[in-house]
Symmetry: C2
Subunit: 410 residues, 2 copies
Amino acid sequence: MNEIIIQKYGGSSVSNIDKIKRIAEKIVQKAKQGYRLVIVVSAMGKSTDKLVKMAKDITINPRERELDMLLSTGEQVSIALLTMAIHNLNREAISFTGRQAGIVTNAAHTKAKVTNIHHEKIKNALKKGNIVIVAGFQGINLNGDVTTLGRGGSDTTAIALAAQLQASICEIFTDVDGVYNADPRIVHNACRIPVISYDEMAEMAILGARVMHYRAIDLARNYKVKIIVKSSFEPGEGTMIKEVDAMLEKVIVRGVTQEKNVGKIVAEGVPDIPGIAYKLFKALAEKEIIVDMIIQSSRRKEINDIAFTVAMNDFDKANKITKKFVKEVKAQGMISDSEVAKVSIVGAGITSDPLVASRMFGALSKEGVNIDMISTSGIRISCLIKSEHLEKAVKAIHKEFNLEKAGEKK
Amino acid sequence: MNEIIIQKYGGSSVSNIDKIKRIAEKIVQKAKQGYRLVIVVSAMGKSTDKLVKMAKDITINPRERELDMLLSTGEQVSIALLTMAIHNLNREAISFTGRQAGIVTNAAHTKAKVTNIHHEKIKNALKKGNIVIVAGFQGINLNGDVTTLGRGGSDTTAIALAAQLQASICEIFTDVDGVYNADPRIVHNACRIPVISYDEMAEMAILGARVMHYRAIDLARNYKVKIIVKSSFEPGEGTMIKEVDAMLEKVIVRGVTQEKNVGKIVAEGVPDIPGIAYKLFKALAEKEIIVDMIIQSSRRKEINDIAFTVAMNDFDKANKITKKFVKEVKAQGMISDSEVAKVSIVGAGITSDPLVASRMFGALSKEGVNIDMISTSGIRISCLIKSEHLEKAVKAIHKEFNLEKAGEKK
C-alpha cells in the first residue's frame, strides 16, 4: 500500500467556488503522484461566523448542543462541494462527515476532545481508490450528538487522523507560506523557519503566532505526527514541524513573538497568609481562566502584591473574581491594565544560557522599553511591556539575535 | 401518555429569524395545551436553491450522494435554530437530523423512499418532556450515507413519523390557508374545502394543486394518517384530509384544477403491429418519464396515431425518445406541442355519473374551448385544451358546478 498523506485546508482556502476548484486541482495532482490522500476541510470562509450570528439573533445564549448541530453544517457544505470538484476532474472521491469518518469525542459540546477514531470507513474508501474528504472540526459523542472541537478544531481533526492512519505527513495548508521568526507585518526582514520542533512551535502558538493552534501541535507531539505548514496557493517549502534531536541542537533563538491580546491585574497589599494566593488562582481556574505570568512580590513584611496576566477575553471575568478576592481577604486594592503586551523569544535551550536573557533585556533597555514582568519556561522568555512599545521591542529583539539571517525572507 | 401531534413547517414558514421565532411561539402554545409534539422542518426559504446553485457552479453534473450531503445541511440549520428559539421561550426541545430521528431509506439518492423509522430516540426525548424537532426531507441509507427524499420530502417525513408514532394528527403548515376548489388567483370566488378524502386530495395534487405532494398523501392514505393543511401565520381551520366514507358520500365535484406545465406529443402514422405502443411507452418508462394522458386513434386501417402528454420537465427527453421510436418503426412523423394545458375536475364518484362529464364538456363548449384529449380515472375527469383557453375554462367549470357555494370563500 502507498503512503497516506493528510492534507488540511482552512476556511480561507475554500472561501469561494473558484478556490475550491483550485484546491481540487492541487489535490488531484498530489493523488497522481501515487499517494493515498485524506483531506480535512474547514467551513467556507466566514460561513461559521454567519451561522453564529443567526444563532445569536435567535437567543443570546444558545445551548451548546444546538450550536454544534448548527455549526457542523458549515464543514458539511465544504466537503460536498470539494468532493464534487474532484469528481469533475475525473477522480474518485467521497465525502465523510465527522460521524461518518468515525471521529468520536467526549461530551463537551463546542470544545469536545477526540477520544477515538473508528477509521474502518476511511480505510475502506481509500482501498477502493477514493480520495477521502473529511469534515474538520466535528465529531459525535457517545450519545450520537454532533459535537464540535472548538478553536483549532480542523487542525486537530487532521492531526488525529494522521496519528490513527499512520500517515507519513500532515500538510496544513493556510494563507501564510510557513512559520516566521517574527510577525512579517512588524519586522520587514522576518524569515521563514524551515524546521521547528513541536515544543518550540507549541510555545510560538501560545505566544501569539496564529498559524496553528497549540492544542493540535500538542497532539502531533504526542503521536509524533510530522507536520508541514504551507500556503494553499503560493509556492514554497513551508515550515516542517517535527521532533528535533536536542543533542544536536545548538542554543538558538528560533523566533520572536508578540501578543497584544493580554491584560494585567494586580491584587495589592494582600495579607501574607499561607494558601492565600492559591485561593485566588483556584477561583480563576474554576472559571476556566488561564493565567499566564504570575509575580508575587513583597512590598513590606506580611503584605504581598500578586500580579498576573490573562487573555483579554477573560479580562472582565478575571477582574470580577479578583475584586471579590480583594474584598474577602481584606487586601488594600487592585489595579488592572489592558494597555500591556507580551514579547517573547522561543528556542530550545535558551533558558539554560543566561546570556540569551540578558541580551534580550539589554536590547529592550537600549530602546527605552521598560520591562514590567518576566516569565520563562524551558524554551521561552517572555516580557510584559507597555503595548505602545511593542513594535520597537519586536524589531530590537529580532535584530539583536540576527534573526534576519536565520532563513528564507518573505 | 398524551396525544402525539406532528407538525410540519415548510421553507417559507421558516425563511428568516423572525418567522422562526413566531413559529416557536406557536409550537410552545400548542405544547402548553398538553400535546406531545414532533415538529418537522424544511430548509429556510431559498437556502436549498442556493446550495444547488453552488453545486452547479462546481460541476454541471454533481453526483447524487454528494448533492444529498450538501442539501441535507439546509434542514440541519433550520432544526438547530428552531430548537434554540424554543429554548429561548423556556421550553425543553431537542433537534434531530434525519439520521438521529432514525429515518432509514433505500439507496436512491435525491429521491430516496423511507423504508423504516427507528423511533426510540424520538420516543425517549418525548418521554423526557422535549418538543422534538426533526429535519425533514432527509434520512440515511443502510450504508450510513445521507439521503434526501426528493419532491414533497418534508411532507413525507411528517406523514411517515405520524404513522410510526401513531400521532392523532399531522398538521401541515404552509403559506396557504387550506385546499381550494379552484386556484384563487384565477377564480376569485374559489372556496376552501373543509374536508377532502385522500383519493380526491391525491388527484388534486397530481393535477396541479401545489399544496401537498401526492406522494405524501399516498403514504397518509396507506397508514390512515389524518392531515390538516393550514396557514403558518394566518388563522383558519384549514383543510382536513382523511378517509371519507364513500357510502355516505353523494356524487360531488370537489374541485377544479389546472396544469399548464404539460406538453403533448403525437407519433403519427404508426404501423398497427401488436406491442408497438408498448415499445414506445417502455422506452419512456425506462427514462422514468411519467406519461399522463394517452390516446391511440386509428386514422385508417393498419395505421395509428399515438398521442400522449408528459410534464414539461420531461418534454425534451420524451421528444427525443419519440423521435427515435418514429424512425425505428418507420412511422410517418411526429408533432409536439407545448402550448397545451390540462383542466380537471375531481370528486368521489363523478365518473360513475355520466351527467358530470357532459356538464363539464358543455361548459367548455359554451366558452368556445376545444377539447383535444380526455382522460378519466375513478374520481377525476381531465381535458387537454389550448393553454390560452385555460383561465376561462377553469372559471366556466367552477361556475357550472356551483363551486362558489361549496365552502368558505377566500
